[in-house]
């Protein structure tokens, strides 16, 4: 029915691996020391080594080597100065790149800065829209709260590419909004192909990830706490500032994580809603790998991304050590 497209050795390795799993499993179950359940996770551990650890190591390997497999830091220098390779070529040919007006290329750095800035804006907007929404839904006397939370999940089932494309049909020059405006006697507005459109698409996609954790952490709170605060003389506003909000911080932190992380690496949304005018880091990585076919630079960019994410996660863990409120569904 389908062609496996696998070299023979890969099939043998897979079969051998399967055989090892089965034999191990039988041995474990036959052993008198039946209490050792920890062995059940061995297949998973092996799986993760092959499909997570090794691929990560490969990324690191490619990032630190050139096309010939020799160790180099050129990829990181290219990240800093996107003209590095070209200038090197020119120098090899006996030209002086500086004299020719070729200076440091800012493409990669500025893409990263732009991505971080957009992700930051997206996170802030999601927080500003999402927090009140979560707060109102988590109110104890609001019976529909739990149902509304489900309503926040459902849109995510529609393919996210299609949802983004649906925004295009709304925002286009001949799109629904403009058609509406024209029929009401206004003039057309350029809604697409700018930062705001990209931001809109991002907020639209990531808003639910901000709402759930905050909703979880607020609705988990003991309602008697707010009653106690009011009993002690705090008004509505003060109760919120002094009790509800501080207690919801773990949820806010994981909401920020869940929005910011994917937002930095957004890919596709800027390409569609921003047209060719904007490029984010995700698109840059994709383009470097698949269009420019430069695995080494692409790996270096991925590695930089990974390190950035890990660093910011480490920072957030300090604020929210339990990682609570993180459960999505």
């Amino acid at each position: 029915m389908m062609d496996l497209h696998l070299p023979a050795w890969a099939i043998w390795v897979m079969l051998a691996g399967l055989a090892v799993f089965i034999v191990m499993f039988i041995i474990i179950l036959r052993r008198n020391h039946g209490v050792k359940r920890s062995m059940f996770s061995t297949p998973y551990a092996l799986w993760m080594i092959i499909f997570t650890i090794i691929p990560c190591l490969l990324v690191a390997y490619y990032a630190f080597t050139d096309a010939n497999g020799k160790f180099t830091l050129d990829n990181f220098i290219s990240f800093w100065d996107s003209n590095h390779e070209m200038n090197k070529e020119l120098a090899n040919l006996g030209f002086d790149p500086a004299a020719m007006g070729f200076t440091r290329g800012m493409v990669n750095i500025s893409t990263l800065v732009y991505s971080l800035w957009m992700a930051f804006l997206c996170t802030v907007i999601c927080l500003l829209i999402g927090y009140p929404a979560a707060l109102f839904m988590a109110e104890r006397d609001f019976k529909l709260g739990a149902t509304l939370v489900t309503l926040f999940i459902i849109p995510m089932w529609m393919n996210f590419l299609l949802r983004t494309i649906a925004w295009m049909s709304l925002l286009e020059d001949n799109g629904l909004i403009n058609t509406l405006l024209v029929s009401l006697g206004f003039s057309r507005v350029q809604l697409m192909y700018n930062n705001s459109a990209v931001l809109l698409g991002m907020v639209y996609n990531f808003l639910p990830f901000m709402v759930f954790p905050i909703y979880n952490s607020i609705s988990k709170q003991d309602y008697r706490l707010t009653e106690a605060a009011m009993d002690l003389g705090a008004g509505r506003m003060l109760t919120f500032i002094r009790v509800t909000f501080p207690l919801s911080l773990p949820g806010v932190v994981s909401g920020i994580t869940m929005v910011f992380m994917p937002a930095v690496t957004t890919f596709f949304i800027p390409r569609m809603l921003g047209g060719g005018n904007t490029e984010m880091f995700g698109d840059l990585i994709e383009r470097t790998f698949l269009t420019a076919n430069n695995w080494n630079l692409g790996s270096a960019l991925s590695l930089i991304m990974m390190v950035l994410i890990l660093l910011s996660l480490g920072l957030l863990r300090k604020v929210d050590p339990e990682g609570e409120g993180g459960s999505m569904i």
Partner: protein
């Protein structure tokens, strides 16, 4: 009890977790039809001992012998013992009947036989007609009974009970203590019972094993352990007691609270520091002029049957139980008969403060 044959023998059992010794050199035998209680504070190793017998842990060194056979590394499902777990561990996805039948089904017993035995067990634990109920709908006491039924239906030769009454309220606990004891006598099964409640141990057991910090401190009948504690720790743990530092002047004469007292212990040597233990009910309140010691009543508490008074004699505050009350602030005399003065060698880890 001594005529019954030995059922379980623990030989030089030690257990370490990551370099921490939780049991060291445990030697213990349990006779057939005996009710043995492992008693000690939490972390003393009593539950680990039970788990080694149940087969959930293997000792680092030593052997477990069951009916003459070495079962040290035999897995739990091949041992002829059953366990009643702390907090019962009933299977929430099965109803009462299926919980009890769990072991019988594994033995591939016929359906008729299973239901006959389950009914018999429900009868034994006074829960007739509860077979179809979900275990989560039962009260703590009822769950407890189901857990016992689930273990007993397999007709184990030894029943291991790990603090089975710990989660019940006081009244229910007292009832269950009597019920367990009578059940054990009726069925003639060996019970190995783990608890930190000394009263429970004293009420139910044929033999009490007092443990602390991975060691066995004393093995004996409840009466023997209460009356003749071997160390200050045992004395303090079993019942209430006054423990004071003293000096053994010579055989049958001990010095404490600036006084010499006659006693019945000997063999400690002369002028040796010892711990002196006197039970609160063994101190008699007498007139100020005829007491061996005199002191002031600091506080009085009514305990239902007796009064508990704290009496300060200057160097020590004695806990005294008496059926007659002396008002706080009054001066009284205290006296004690030689037989009730228990002398013990102070040990490093449990010397009196």
């Amino acid at each position: 009890m001594s005529e019954e044959p030995r059922m379980i023998h623990l030989e030089n059992i030690s257990k370490e977790y990551n370099g921490v010794t939780v049991l060291s050199d445990i030697n213990l035998y349990i006779r057939k039809k005996e009710f043995v209680t492992l008693l000690g504070p939490s972390g003393c190793g009593k539950t680990t001992t039970l788990r080694i017998i149940g087969g959930f842990e293997y000792p680092s060194t030593g052997r477990v012998v069951f009916d003459g056979k070495d079962i040290t590394t035999l897995p739990p499902y091949k041992r002829r013992v059953n366990t009643v777990f702390q907090k019962y561990a009933l299977f929430p996805h099965l109803n009462v009947q299926d919980n009890i039948a769990f072991g019988l089904k594994i033995k591939k017993m016929s359906r008729g036989e299973i239901s006959r035995r389950v009914d018999k067990m429900l009868d034994l634990v006074n829960l007739n007609g509860y077979g179809k109920r979900s275990v989560e709908s039962l009260s703590g006491g009822q769950q407890q009974r189901i857990a016992i039924a689930r273990a007993l239906v397999n007709e184990p030769e030894v029943l291991l009970l790990d603090e089975p009454l710990g989660a019940l309220d006081l009244k229910l606990r007292k009832e269950m203590q009597l019920e367990l004891k009578s059940m054990q006598q009726r069925l003639g099964i060996t019970f190995l019972y783990v608890t930190h409640d000394q009263e429970e141990a004293l009420t139910m057991s044929d033999t009490i094993v007092v443990m602390n910090a991975g060691h066995i401190l004393q093995i004996g009948t409840p009466k023997k352990i209460y009356d003749e504690p071997k160390s200050a720790f045992v004395a303090r743990f079993i019942g209430e007691s006054n423990i004071i530092r003293g000096t053994m002047v010579r055989d049958e004469l001990v010095h404490f609270s600036d006084m010499d007292f006659a006693c019945v212990d000997s063999g400690f040597g002369e002028n040796v520091p010892v711990d002196v233990v006197i039970r609160p009910e063994d101190l008699m309140i007498v007139g100020e002029d005829i007491g061996q010691l005199t002191g002031v009543v600091k506080s009085v508490l009514f305990k239902g049957v007796h009064y508990e008074m704290m009496i300060d004699t200057g160097d020590f505050t004695w806990k005294v139980h008496s059926t007659t009350m002396q008002p706080a602030g009054s001066r009284v005399g205290l006296s004690v008969v030689p037989f009730n003065i228990h002398i013990m060698r102070p040990t490093k880890e449990d010397s009196a403060k």
